[in-house]
């Protein structure tokens, strides 16, 4: 059982530099993307650069810094199961919390948000 000693370490400096490049893309990507005219392109570009690259960065940190790439399959499954149940939570709750309206159900106008008399920009 030699799993607790890693035989070789990847070149961490190279991974680190790549992470920084991705970081730069994820910062400035959305800023450029916001100039786009097409709403659909804009949204997908922002989501892709912000969250897509975020996911890649997270994956790189998990794989090489946390050594998930050579970790037991059991551990990977454990983490995937946790994320699966979060997605399940989202799927089950979204019809009620994400969508304000539903079948035989609508918003009560007495509970408007944001309140009209309370502008969202606070006074200085």
């Amino acid at each position: 059982m030699n799993n607790d000693k890693h035989l070789s370490h990847p070149d961490y400096k190279k991974i680190y530099v790549r992470l920084l490049i991705l970081l730069a893309i994820s910062i400035w990507g959305p800023i450029f993307a916001l100039q786009l005219d097409n709403r659909f392109l804009l949204v997908s570009a922002v989501l892709l650069t912000a969250f897509g690259i975020g996911a890649i960065k997270a994956g790189m940190v998990a794989a090489w810094f946390m050594h998930l790439d050579i970790e037991l399959r059991m551990i990977k499954r454990l983490l995937v199961i946790c994320i699966f149940f979060l997605i399940l939570l989202f799927a089950g709750v979204a019809p009620d919390v994400l969508l304000p309206e539903g079948q035989n159900r609508e918003m009560d106008p007495d509970y408007e948000y944001p309140k009209i008399d309370n502008p969202s920009t606070p006074e200085q």
Binding site: D4, H6, L34, A50, G54, V61, I83, L99, Y113
Partner: protein, 197 residues
């Protein structure tokens, strides 16, 4: 008591194929995933429900402060993993030195956070200004608390590592620290980048 404490034989067994300390750390990470995950799931649902109202609020977060913090955490993670490499090579002194750098960068992270909080609150965006800001302070505050706890544990591990003791703990605290880093990698686009939508 603790100096006479002898770990039981159970702790040194590895039936599952990996050291107990690392296995335990993974379970901690798994339970943290669902805690942060619950908060993030709630945030995403509200964010999509109040799209335009919240987009306007999100414009006021400090993108470059957040970006700087991402950079700081990535760098600290880099040092943490280098410390792990050094610890595995048996070089406790070098590992401790690298861990101290990680702690210092954690401190920088918290300082930037403090600057952000102060300027946001002074600009009128306190935790009660809007539900968006309640989420912002809760999520980043919970994350900041984890950074703080991580720094304290890192301190103990570094102290031991400098004496060449408990070197296996360098990897465990590293896993935790990288996890905190990953949480930030997701909080950063959620609160700072995707503000225009």
């Amino acid at each position: 008591m603790s100096d006479t404490f002898q770990p039981p034989i159970a702790t040194s067994r590895t039936t599952a194929g990996l050291p107990t300390s690392r296995l335990g750390t993974w379970w901690v990470v798994a339970s943290e995933i669902v805690i942060f995950g619950g908060l993030i799931v709630a945030f995403i649902m509200y964010r999509m429900r109040h799209g335009e109202v919240w987009a306007e609020q999100a414009e006021h977060t400090k993108l470059y402060a957040g970006a700087l913090n991402t950079f700081v955490l990535l760098t600290s993670s880099y040092f943490a993993v280098c410390a792990h490499k050094a610890a595995e090579a048996g070089d406790g002194k070098k590992a401790a030195k690298l861990l101290v750098r990680t702690i210092l960068l954690g401190g920088v992270f918290l300082c930037v956070k403090a600057y952000e909080y102060t300027s946001e609150i002074l600009a009128g965006y306190g935790p009660l200004a809007d539900l968006f800001w309640s989420f912002y302070y809760t999520a980043t505050g919970l994350h900041g608390f984890h950074v703080l706890v991580g720094m304290i544990i890192l301190g103990f591990v570094a102290k031991d590592a400098a004496k060449g003791k408990n070197l296996h703990r360098v990897e465990c605290i590293g896993i935790y620290w990288h996890f905190v880093d990953i949480v930030w990698i997701f909080l950063f686009p959620l609160f700072y980048i995707a503000s225009g939508l």
